[in-house]
C-alpha cells in the first residue's frame, strides 16, 4: 500500500504556476528522493504534501485518504513531519525546547529526547544553548530531530545537505538510513544527485514543475539523469 499518492497536482503562487500535473507514488516504508535543479518545484511539492500550500487542482492521498485542503497542523497530528528548507529553528527556544516542541502533538513512537540525543550526541551536549547559536550542520540535526520527535509515519526532508561540509552531509545521510530502517516512510528533496541515488529506493526528477523522469536508481544512466535534470535534448 502507498503511504502517499500524489495525482496530477497543480500548485500556484498567485498567477504563477509552480507545479503542472505532478504525480508521485510513495510505498509505505520506502525512501523516495525528488531531485531537480533550482526552481524545479521540489520545495513547493514538499510543502504541498505537508499542507503548508494548497493545490488548485489534483489529489493527494495519505494512507488511502484524501488530505487536500487540510492544514499543516492537522497533518502533523496525522504523522506527516516536514524538515523545512533553511531549517527554521525557533530563535527564542533552546535546543532542547526546539526538540520538545517537535513533540507538541504527543504522538507515541520510538522517538523521544533520549533517542534523539543518542542519534545526535552533540545536541545533548548543547541542550541549553539557543537553537540558532548552533553551527549550520548542528542546526540541520536539530531540525531533523525536531521532526522526528513527532514520531512521524511520513517524514519529508527538504535539502538537508544544503551549504554543509561533505563530512556533515555524510553523517546526516547515515541518519536518514537509520530513520528509514525504523520503517518510517521518507521523502527527501535533494540537489545532490549522487546522494539521492545512494539512499533512495525510487527517484523522481522534476523539471520546471513537471516530472521529467522517474525510476529505481539502478535504472538511471548518467545521461538520462542529466537530460531529466537539465532538460537537454538527447
Amino acid at each position: 500500500m502507498n503511504a502517499l499518492t500524489v495525482r496530477e497536482v497543480e500548485v500556484f503562487y498567485g498567477e504563477f504556476q509552480a507545479l503542472f500535473g505532478v504525480s508521485l507514488e510513495v510505498p509505505a516504508g520506502e525512501t523516495v528522493a525528488i531531485i531537480g535543479a533550482n526552481g524545479a518545484g521540489k520545495t513547493t511539492l514538499l510543502r504541498t504534501i505537508a499542507g503548508a500550500l494548497t493545490p488548485r487542482r489534483g489529489q493527494i492521498e495519505y494512507r488511502g485518504r484524501s488530505i487536500v485542503g487540510q492544514p499543516a497542523h492537522v497533518l502533523a497530528r496525522h504523522g506527516i513531519s516536514l524538515v523545512p528548507e533553511g531549517r527554521k529553528i525557533f530563535p527564542s527556544l533552546t535546543v532542547e525546547e526546539n526538540l520538545m516542541l517537535g513533540a507538541y502533538t504527543r504522538r507515541s513512537g520510538p522517538w523521544n529526547l533520549r533517542a534523539i540525543y543518542d542519534l545526535f550526541p552533540i545536541l545533548g551536549e548543547r541542550a541549553r544553548v539557543a537553537g540558532v547559536d548552533l553551527s549550520g550542520g548542528q542546526q540541520q540535526m536539530l531540525a531533523i530531530g525536531r521532526a522526528l520527535m513527532n514520531n512521524p509515519d511520513l517524514i519529508l526532508m527538504d535539502e538537508i545537505s544544503l551549504g554543509l561540509a561533505p563530512l556533515v552531509v555524510k553523517e546526516l545521510y547515515r541518519v536518514v538510513k537509520v530513520i528509514a530502517e525504523t520503517g518510517t516512510t521518507v521523502v527527501i528533496v535533494e540537489q545532490d544527485v549522487s546522494r539521492a541515488l545512494q539512499v533512495a529506493d525510487h527517484v523522481y526528477c522534476l523539471l520546471e514543475g513537471r516530472v521529467s523522469a522517474q525510476g529505481r536508481p539502478a535504472d538511471f544512466s548518467h545521461e538520462a539523469i542529466s537530460r531529466a535534470y537539465f532538460g537537454m535534448a538527447a
Binding site: 503548508a52 499543516a72 497542523h73 525557533f90 527556544l93 516542541l101 507538541y104 525536531r146
Partner: protein
C-alpha cells in the same frame, strides 16, 4: 526623605503599569497585533469588579475570581469570532477593528453606568499604611506591586516551563513553522488574547481600588500601557516591569513640581527613550 517617599510611590505605581504593558506586549509579541481597545478593557474589568461587588457583595480583591475568567473568555471569543478573521491582511484591519471596539466599549459603559466616576471599595486596606525608615508605604499600593510581580512570575513560569508556553514563543518566532509542529496558530492567538485580557482584568481591579474610573478613561490607560512598553522594550517581562517603574517614578516626581505635570513627565521620559533608545531600555527581542 520626601523625595525617597515620592520615588517609592512611583515604583509601586509602576507595578500597575507593568500589568498594563504586559497585556499589550503579549499580544503584539505573539501575533503582531496592536489592540487599541486595550485601555478600555482595563476599564471594563474595573466595572465588572464593581458589578461583582454590587451583585455578589464581594470585595474587589475577591472579585478577581470572577472577573479574571470572564475577561479571559471575552478575549478568547473576541479573537476567535472577530480578530482571527483579519489574519494575513496586514496591520490595518485589526487596528480599525480594535479602534471601533474602543469606541463601542466606551459608549456601552456610558449607557450602563453613566458618566459618573466610580471607585472600588476595598475597605480599610485602602488607607492603611506602615512606615519603613521614615518612608510611609501604603498597604494597597504595596499589595498592587506584589500582585503585579506575582503575575509576571507566573507568566515567566508559563512561557518557560509549559508546552503551551513554548508554543506561544514558537508561534511568535515563526507561525508557519510552528504549524508544521502541529500547532494551530489561530488557537494560540485566541489563548494569547484570553491571557492578555486576564492580565488586564487584574490591572483593572487594582486600578479601581487605587483610584476612581469613568467610562472614557480607557485611552489614557492605553497610553500608559504604550509608554511602559516603549520605555521597557518588547520581549522581556522584567523589562516591562522596569519600564513601568520608570514611568511611575517620572509621573510622581513630575507631579511634585506641578500636579498637572504628572502625565507630562511620563510623556517626556517616553519621548527621550524613543529618541535615544528606540528599542527600549531593556529589550530582548531579536526582530521587530
Amino acid at each position: 526623605m520626601q523625595w525617597v517617599n515620592i520615588i517609592v510611590q512611583g515604583i509601586l505605581l509602576g507595578g500597575l503599569y507593568a500589568l498594563y504593558g504586559t497585556g499589550l506586549s503579549l499580544i503584539f509579541g505573539v501575533m503582531r497585533l496592536v489592540n487599541l481597545a486595550h485601555g478600555d478593557f482595563i476599564v471594563v474589568a474595573a466595572y465588572l469588579a464593581l458589578l461583582a461587588g454590587q451583585l455578589l457583595g464581594v470585595s474587589p480583591y475577591l472579585s478577581l475570581v470572577v472577573v479574571v475568567p470572564l475577561m479571559f473568555a471575552l478575549g478568547l471569543l473576541m479573537q476567535l469570532g472577530l480578530l482571527n478573521r483579519t489574519l494575513g491582511r496586514g496591520l490595518m484591519p485589526p487596528l480599525l477593528i480594535t479602534f471601533g471596539l474602543s469606541v463601542m466599549l466606551q459608549n456601552i459603559l456610558l449607557l450602563l453606568f453613566t458618566a459618573d466616576s466610580r471607585g472600588l471599595d476595598a475597605g480599610a486596606i485602602e488607607t492603611a499604611s506602615f512606615e519603613v525608615g521614615g518612608v510611609a508605604i501604603g498597604l494597597a499600593p504595596l499589595l498592587t506591586f506584589i500582585v503585579a510581580v506575582c503575575v509576571l512570575l507566573a507568566l515567566q513560569w508559563f512561557f518557560s516551563n509549559t508546552m503551551l508556553g513554548r508554543a506561544f514563543r514558537a508561534t511568535s518566532d515563526d507561525p508557519d513553522t510552528a504549524e508544521l509542529m502541529g500547532i494551530d496558530s489561530r488557537r494560540i492567538y485566541a489563548l494569547a488574547m484570553g491571557l492578555s485580557l486576564a492580565v488586564v482584568a487584574v490591572a483593572g481591579v487594582l486600578l479601581g481600588v487605587r483610584t476612581n474610573f469613568a467610562p472614557t478613561d480607557g485611552p489614557a490607560r492605553l497610553i500608559f500601557a504604550f509608554e511602559t512598553v516603549i520605555i521597557g522594550g518588547l520581549g522581556s517581562l522584567w523589562g516591562t516591569l522596569l519600564g513601568g517603574m520608570l514611568l511611575g517614578v517620572a509621573q510622581t516626581v513630575g507631579a511634585q513640581f506641578n500636579p498637572a505635570w504628572f502625565q507630562l513627565a511620563g510623556h517626556i521620559v517616553t519621548l527621550l527613550v524613543l529618541a535615544f533608545r528606540p528599542t527600549g531600555l531593556f529589550a530582548r527581542t531579536r526582530d521587530v
